[in-house]
């Protein structure tokens, strides 16, 4: 099975405005991110779209920009995108549901197109001026792992880099009790065939398997910072923690039917 290399990384979440901040935080023994919402700057978006874009899209674009920072723009524009999310944008959804519950319904066109699940990759396409393929996938609490499997399959099929974006803004009365809702989280990973990676052999993901057994040998017991517990996209922090600490690790990501997608990470 082909190995996958990890190129660029982007993060955008409260207390983690970018990957640099996230890395510093994840290196601390007990990461406690502040709840300060980052000043999100999806500057690649045309001004009019920046004003229209919903939170999920702004976080996703900001994270994606970081992940492709070192890549020539022409190459970014050719890079396929996979977006994953369990719940999409809870803020937009709630606003829309409230509008639909009024005696006289009036939706704004912008609210409607922002409510579409693939709005974040759509905005990313505008930001990156990309005509490459772009998909948006969901699998409940297994969404991050399911999206990663789709990326893996794409890289096997095309032998070319893929930009993976995961984002959940779950602060919504629809999904769960708003008072305990986890913080929003977005990350972006530039993933590529391992043999195309520079420097050779660095930051590799390998040994993909789905396991029913929770006690995978040597698996890292990486707990998410409490603010993000329950945010399906924040499962990425298990991988990012190993990357930040530059150590080999067995990463377990929740998958379907109480199983785990198990990946080995080599720094």
């Amino acid at each position: 099975m082909i190995g996958i290399a990890l190129g660029g990384i982007g993060v955008c979440a409260p207390g983690m405005a970018d990957w640099q901040e996230a890395r510093t935080l994840l290196r601390s023994p007990e990461p406690q991110p502040s709840d300060r919402f980052p000043k999100v700057a999806p500057s690649w978006l045309p001004a009019i779209e920046r004003r229209r874009a919903n939170t999920t899209s702004r976080l996703a674009v900001a994270a994606a920009m970081q992940a492709v920072r070192d890549v020539p723009l022409a190459e970014v524009a050719r890079m396929p995108t996979v977006f994953s999310s369990a719940d999409g944008d809870g803020e937009v959804l709630t606003t829309m549901l409230v509008a639909l519950a009024q005696p006289k319904v009036a939706l704004s066109p912008t609210l409607f197109h922002n409510s579409v699940f693939n709005a974040p990759p759509g905005y990313w396409g505008l930001a990156a001026q990309s005509n490459a393929s772009s998909t948006a996938v969901s699998a409940g609490d297994a969404s991050f792992a399911a999206g990663l499997r789709e990326v893996h399959a794409q890289i096997i099929a095309t032998h070319a880099p893929v930009l993976y974006i995961a984002c959940d803004v779950t602060r919504s009365i629809v999904f769960r009790d708003a008072s305990t809702a986890p913080a929003p989280f977005a990350c972006a990973l530039r993933l590529l065939p391992a043999d195309a990676a520079q420097p050779a052999g660095g930051r590799r993901l390998d040994g993909w398997s789905v396991d029913m057994n929770e006690d995978v040998a040597n698996a890292e017991r990486i707990e998410l910072p409490r603010a993000f517990a329950g945010n399906p996209s924040a499962m990425a922090l298990r991988l990012l923690s190993a990357v930040a600490n530059e150590k080999a690790a067995v990463i377990r990501l929740p998958y379907l039917d109480n199983s785990w997608l198990t990946i080995r990470y080599f720094p």
Binding site: L97, L100, S108, S115, N118, G125, R149, I173, V174
Partner: protein
């Protein structure tokens, strides 16, 4: 014809053909493939004046599947009972589809068959109606919805999970939600998962049901027709929203007279809810599908259009078609019959293309009396018999997403 000469040639670098070994579809034209086929052959439309939920007071036409108004899902799936999952179940009950899936289970094992479902609505109507019933408002966050509602009916994974459970499958699964290309793109995701060894075979499908958000949402964009929609017609004035479910079993080692041989995906990078005026992204998807199949445009005998009947969409698609195919390839849109079934449109029209290949006829463009003279494509108004070897079907959607599929018939 150019296509015939290519049939036996090995196509180096082409996608491995993926046989469709079973399929089923349900929409406003009928419940099950036989009923849908009859309506299309007779040129009948399943569209009716909007009489959906009293809350949806809009002067438009809809493609409604009335059989799901009253019949719930099987009792063991009560948690999942909502319009979208009822529609999924109604479709799954037709055409002996579960029998074919069970045979694949016997062959490969239930954990080796993937499930890839496209939807844009999932069961959002259930939450919309709960909000309208006043069980929740934005100030009263403590009055929460029934805890299972979101998880089992409304969430993006709800229908995929229901389908997977109903068919007794336990392999790789995901939902694709890319607006109106959702259930076209499932064919690509399934093909890749099979090629990557994540599964041995796959159930792909799409399920989208009528909802207040889509009706009022398209209304807000002034895209709803006040008539039964008239794709590519000179007097077209917008879309008619429909609901539908369709499923296909893709088995790389199975036998079938129809195979998926190319999938092409692209993005417009133009606008969130308007297509590129010259159809550049759409043309990109069609070319990508041809490239994936290692075919030339002349190898395609018929194109089932996205053809929504919105003014801008049809112009954009027409320009893309002229760019890729010229003006001779026969094309038609079946949305005047089914309505625009959004997240289920891709699979619905792929399965109409399967019918076309299997029986050697092309559907007409229901409700289109006179083709817009500004559109240059060879639009079929009525069903027409012709030798077909390979056909393409197009799906385009919000966020500038495009997906074209190439299907091939014969043994």
């Amino acid at each position: 014809m150019a296509g015939a000469g290519r049939a036996a040639r090995t196509r180096d670098g082409a996608m491995k053909p993926l046989p469709i070994t079973a399929s089923t579809m349900t929409n406003a034209c009928g419940v099950g493939t036989t009923d849908v086929r009859s309506a299309l052959i007779r040129g009948e439309s399943g569209l009716t004046r909007n009489d959906f939920e009293p809350a949806a007071v809009l002067d438009t036409w809809i493609g409604r599947v009335r059989q799901i108004d009253t019949v719930g899902v099987a009792s063991e799936y009560a948690l999942y009972d909502c319009r979208n999952n009822r529609l999924a179940q109604l479709a799954l009950e037709q055409d002996d589809f579960p029998v074919a899936v069970e045979a694949a289970v016997q062959r490969y094992g239930r954990d080796r068959i993937g499930v890839f479902v496209g939807t844009s609505t999932s069961g959002i109507l259930a939450t919309e109606l709960a909000f309208r019933a006043g069980s929740l408002n934005v100030c009263g966050a403590s009055k929460s919805l029934p805890s299972d509602l979101y998880r089992y009916r409304h969430s993006m994974m709800a229908t995929t999970e229901f389908v997977r459970s109903y068919l007794g499958l336990a392999g790789v699964a995901l939902t694709i939600s890319t607006a109106c290309t959702s259930s076209a793109k499932v064919f690509g995701a399934a093909a890749r998962a099979i090629a990557a060894g994540q599964c041995m075979a796959a159930v792909v499908g799409g399920v989208d049901s009528l909802a207040l958000s889509t009706l009022f949402g398209f209304h807000s964009l002034s895209l709803l027709s006040r008539h039964a929609c008239r794709p590519f017609a000179v007097d077209r004035d917008g879309i008619s929203i429909g609901e539908a479910a369709g499923f296909a079993l893709l088995d790389p080692s199975g036998e079938s007279d129809v195979r998926v041989v190319g999938v092409g995906e692209s993005s417009d990078a133009y606008h969130m809810s308007s297509p590129h005026p010259d159809g550049a992204g759409a043309a990109g998807a069609m070319r990508a599908a041809l490239h994936d199949a290692q075919l030339a445009a002349a190898d395609i005998d018929y194109v089932n259009l996205h053809g929504t009947a919105s003014r801008a969409n049809d112009i954009s698609e027409d320009r893309a078609l002229v760019d890729v195919f010229g003006t001779k390839t026969p094309v038609s849109s079946t949305k005047g019959a089914t309505g625009h079934t959004l997240g289920a449109a891709g699979v619905t029209e792929a399965l109409i293309a399967v019918l076309a290949l299997r029986e050697q006829w092309m559907p007409g463009t229901t409700n289109c009396a006179r083709v817009d003279p500004e559109l240059a494509s060879a639009v079929l108004l009525l069903p027409h018999s012709q030798r077909l070897i390979r056909v393409m079907t197009n799906s385009f959607g919000f966020g500038g997403t495009n997906c074209s599929l190439v299907l091939e018939g014969g043994r």
